[in-house]
């Protein structure tokens, strides 16, 4: 879909949420759900930040690190891509305390989602770096740059542009995975929905609102990433013109 129609869809979704929240059967759920949505947004934002850090760090270690670091990065990616996000979340929540490490549920949530999505992100970053043409490396070598300079000034700025759209997809996957944290007692949007559902049994009303709120957050991420992509490609085009 084009950027315009996504923005139109977002406005329609927000409009629908606002309209429904003025109606009688929905009104009582709105404050609770908004509180939950705020928790969801916080976990998604911190988790995404962590995922980018883990993704970039492990891609760079897997590509250019010394052997032990390379091996560690590859193991991390294989393990976290090979098992389920919920298993990882439960492992950190139920098993880690047995090793004497007790973390807050919120920390566990951010850590588990960040680690999980970071492993997928590592592959994105690796693929993006490898699609930069070989000639760029060779030209950078010819002007006597060190490997660090080449990466920082030549390769990564070009790779960033190709990795923006797949990162956008990963951020949406991460947002969707935040629903899992309701299973480790965090009162996010899903948790609030389940709790209200149990007390009021107004299942259709509650879950419709919740689905729309998630849709609004997803669409916001999509739009933000599109705008970022446009800005980055303009910057790169300007750089090329010099």
């Amino acid at each position: 879909m084009g950027l315009r129609s996504i923005i139109a869809l977002l406005l329609a979704t927000i409009g629908l949420v606002v309209f429904l929240s003025t109606l009688e059967p929905f009104r009582i759920f709105v404050p609770g759900l908004l509180g939950g949505a705020w928790m969801t947004v916080r976990i998604a934002a911190l988790g995404s930040l962590l995922a980018v850090v883990f993704g970039v760090a492990s891609a760079l270690s897997a590509l250019y690190g010394p052997a032990p670091l390379r091996w560690l990065a590859r193991t991390y990616v294989e393990i976290f891509r090979g098992t389920s996000a919920l298993v990882q979340l439960f492992w950190l929540f139920f098993v880690l305390p047995d090793f004497g490490i007790s973390l807050e549920p919120f920390t566990v949530a951010v850590l588990a989602l960040g680690l999980n999505v970071g492993a997928y992100g590592a592959e994105v970053v690796r693929a993006a770096i490898q699609t930069v043409p070989r000639g760029q490396w060779e030209a950078a070598t010819a002007v006597n740059m060190t490997q660090g300079q080449m990466l920082r000034r030549i390769i990564l700025p070009q790779a960033v542009l190709t990795m923006i759209p797949p990162w956008g997809n990963l951020f949406i996957e991460l947002l969707k995975s935040t629903a899992l944290v309701s299973l480790i007692t965090i009162s996010d949007l899903s948790f609030m929905a389940q709790e209200m559902n149990q007390t009021t049994m107004k299942t259709i009303d509650i879950f419709t609102l919740v689905l729309l709120i998630y849709l609004a957050i997803s669409l916001t991420i999509t739009i933000a990433m599109r705008l970022l992509e446009n800005a980055a490609s303009r910057g790169l085009a300007r750089g090329r013109a010099h």
């Binding site: 879909m1 869809l9 294989e78 393990i79 891509r81 090979g82 098992t83 389920s84 996000a85 919920l86 298993v87 990882q88 439960f90 492992w91 139920f94 098993v95 047995d98 090793f99 949406i172 947002l175 969707k176 995975s177 935040t178 629903a179 899992l180 309701s182 299973l183 899903s190 929905a193 389940q194 559902n197 299942t203 259709i204 879950f207 919740v210 689905l211 998630y214 849709l215 997803s218 669409l219």
Partner: protein, 219 residues
């Protein structure tokens, strides 16, 4: 020692039995995803009156959490008089969720077929149904098998979500074992290991199918 081998060996058969439920859910869910995905893809290629609502539905399902969709089907359908057991509701939700992903894959596959194939079939006086079934689909499916395979593995890794509506698959069984004995280390770690092994095996399987298909189409 933290890890008790005796206990791990004792619960392994229980987990193996639960793994069968996980595998059943995976394959049934994927069967729904693969067939419904094709239906979505075809509907999105037809007139705007059909394509619009389907695109909107696909976008809604893709942008919202699977967990909420599982709850939605499990709690909401009974209000319309359709009572499903947890396993069926879970498998339906898994199938619906991944059908939206599969529909994108099918769409890419179908759009890759050159227009000339349709035109040649029209010239041969084939009906559009026959063209689609015998000319277009047999060419569109093989290149997208690896992409579909990746979604099969992704769907498999989402099956632990069914534990949220108490389906006795791997994760739920591990949690019950943990709550009975207050030892979570072995059950949850074993579930992780089982998932890792099955994912790695299926990744090798997908690569193998991909190579076999490439060889067939090259011939």
């Amino acid at each position: 020692m933290l890890w008790d081998w005796g206990y791990a060996l004792e619960i392994l058969p229980v987990l193996a039995k639960a793994a069968i439920v996980t595998i059943e859910a995976t394959f049934l869910g994927f069967l729904i995803a693969a067939s419904l995905g094709l239906v979505f893809a075809i509907m999105r290629m037809s007139g705007p009156l059909v394509a619009g609502p389907v695109t909107l539905l696909v976008e809604l399902v893709r942008s919202t959490p699977l967990l909420i969709q599982i709850f939605f089907l499990y709690f909401v359908l009974p209000k319309f008089g359709v009572t499903l057991d947890a396993f069926t509701a879970g498998v339906l939700a898994l199938g619906l969720h991944y059908a939206t992903y599969c529909s994108e894959v099918y769409r890419a596959g179908l759009e890759n077929i050159p227009r000339g194939q349709w035109e040649a079939s029209t010239a041969l006086n084939l009906s559009s149904f026959t063209t689609f079934k015998d000319i277009i689909l047999p060419q569109a499916i093989p290149p997208i098998v690896p992409a579909l395979g990746n979604y099969l593995v992704a769907l498999f890794k989402e099956t632990p979500l069914l534990s949220a509506i108490a389906v006795l698959e791997l994760m739920q069984t591990a949690k019950i074992l943990g709550s009975e004995t207050f030892r979570y280390v072995e059950p949850i770690t074993l579930v992780g290991v089982i998932f890792l092994i099955m994912s790695l095996v299926s990744a090798v399987g997908i690569r193998w199918v991909e190579r076999a298909l490439n060889r067939r189409t090259a011939r």
